[in-house]
Subunit: 395 residues, 2 copies
Amino acid sequence: MSLTPPQGFLFAAAAAGIKPSGKPDLALALVPGGAAAAAMFTRNQIVAAPIILGREHLRRSAGRVHALIVNAGNANCATGKQGLQAAKRVCSELAFGVKLKPEHVFPSSTGIIGVPFPAEKITNALPGLLASADSSAGSLEAFANAILTTDTHAKTSCQSITRAGRSAGLVGVAKGAGMIHPNMATMLVYLFTDLAASPRDLKPTLKRAVDDSFHNISIDGDTSTNDTVLLLASGKSGLEMKSVRAEFQAALSKVCRSLAAQIVADGEGVKHVVRLRIEQSRSSEDARRIARAIANSSLVKTSWAGADPNWGRVLAAIGYSGVAVHPERINIYLGDQQVCRNGTACKFDAGQAHHYMSEPAYEIRIALGAGSHTLEFLSCDLTEEYVHINAEYST
Amino acid sequence: MSLTPPQGFLFAAAAAGIKPSGKPDLALALVPGGAAAAAMFTRNQIVAAPIILGREHLRRSAGRVHALIVNAGNANCATGKQGLQAAKRVCSELAFGVKLKPEHVFPSSTGIIGVPFPAEKITNALPGLLASADSSAGSLEAFANAILTTDTHAKTSCQSITRAGRSAGLVGVAKGAGMIHPNMATMLVYLFTDLAASPRDLKPTLKRAVDDSFHNISIDGDTSTNDTVLLLASGKSGLEMKSVRAEFQAALSKVCRSLAAQIVADGEGVKHVVRLRIEQSRSSEDARRIARAIANSSLVKTSWAGADPNWGRVLAAIGYSGVAVHPERINIYLGDQQVCRNGTACKFDAGQAHHYMSEPAYEIRIALGAGSHTLEFLSCDLTEEYVHINAEYST
């Protein structure tokens, strides 16, 4: 599927000089007719200025967004009142340029924490950015590239929904999270559709898609101060949400799951993507807590780096997850091979298991014997390269 | 202070052939007159056979222990009914040898998970072990060495309490935890004293000492299936607990804190021990949760490995700790230098900070501006060496 921008959106990107590398670091999405918006933000209590401002703008505009401005290279976090003023200035200048109110501009930032925000570099770049915005696939790709920090490639995914001869598009664009030069580790996700929907309709749909995708991944367990997922619906396809609700939910979840998988696979130093399939759980929440305990265990993650079928570490992590379990009912499988039966060691071919875990992506299946819920959770290994990169970030 | 065994205890160690290296792996402590006992165990729901049996024996004996048998090299965990039978057999044979009931024997194991427990190797070694037990400092040192797995050296600490011409001794012996060839990462701590006390008296004293020490350390955040802290009081000094309660509490806490610090410093691949001093917290529990979030963050720990004054990662970890904080009141200090003021970046000498963080041990001080509680918590860095060692453990 080609990366065709949905109708009603214009994109542009530029190098504003925020990244020391001189690479593109400023991205703009314009919605001339305006879009209905829904957003989800980091749960971290320490939040960056654009998160504070983005929340406020959505409230004041009652969920209408006409412009999205994203910079990479500076998170505008722990920058105090000056940081908030700087973010406001960027929004005001952009709003002035497109003859709108500031609350119709949605800001995002990603990059280093605690460095004064270079608002002027951004405002200087705005006229050129506005002049170059168009609806081409190339501009959308430039947008997807400009929001990256240490990701090795752009992350996009698209779907379309057709009903009675009418077709709506959905494109998702993301940058990686929770690893990788980690002060630049914010997860930013933008979802553009030309479906017609109200902000109230979009909210639960987005929440469900995020629960199905970004909430089921973990790279190193850290939560960014800037994480943002934004869904914009321009309505230009003429197709109404209410006539394709289930199809749109499915398409949105699919796009989010694809972006989530791309984010994990591009984690810093990642050599193995591991899908944890938690079965027979009492609830999805229990399954997620268990998956998180496993996915955040340094002991488990380093054993994955060595393709070591050390299931005892997985069992121990289940035991301290905080979820009440019946150890004697737990079964663990590496692909087709069972390695733990009823909480106890069972014979298995360690060579075959090592071979299986040497693949770039594989599955560990855990049956809890506690209920009927299943959850798939994506994680990755913790490698020497991860430590090397993250030990040498800011100095 | 020399490592003089308290009165009433005999020690012995042997190489039973459990460790492939052939090093000593079996340790015995005998209390011919019996000891009052109190114990604390891992909170992991997946527990090894000796934990199940140890709890049961303490219950049946009403807190009386006459013999402690510890093996290294096999955790007897995830070994099912056979594992429990094997542990029972070791206790029964030892009880028979010293003409006691099995419930007067306290078992401990540390080592790999999920490998059948070699009870016969242990029972074969028991006669020799019993014959060689004595009250010499050399035997106590041999005990301290035989319980080690991948620790690089034995960990001991001692204190004495004197009152009205009478003197009681206290010796603590430990092996490392939560790192280091992690299936062998169990923390085992044995505290021997010749004070006279009842099991009921010992329990709260032990709990408080553990809260002050082992609960305030973290190496990689993983919790073992075998963690055990056991306090034995022979009463042979003639000094009564009730006459020196406060002094004994202080001595016990001091010994536990010393052992805890030794455990962190000997963590696998550890290059820096970091003392987190959390000040102005609403409660000790809040302070501990915040310290744990920081100490378990891969991003923070890798920055410590690089001596990188990346305080933004610390601030972000505080933000997702689950404790309600006022970001605008948070101050962070690296030694004498303030690096974050009121939640916002402040100017500091990065070179000096890097130099400070290059020391093998240093302090990060965090003032929350939320209350009056202070907590000191010991943690360490996450190095490439840790990953290297743990990626290559069982295969």
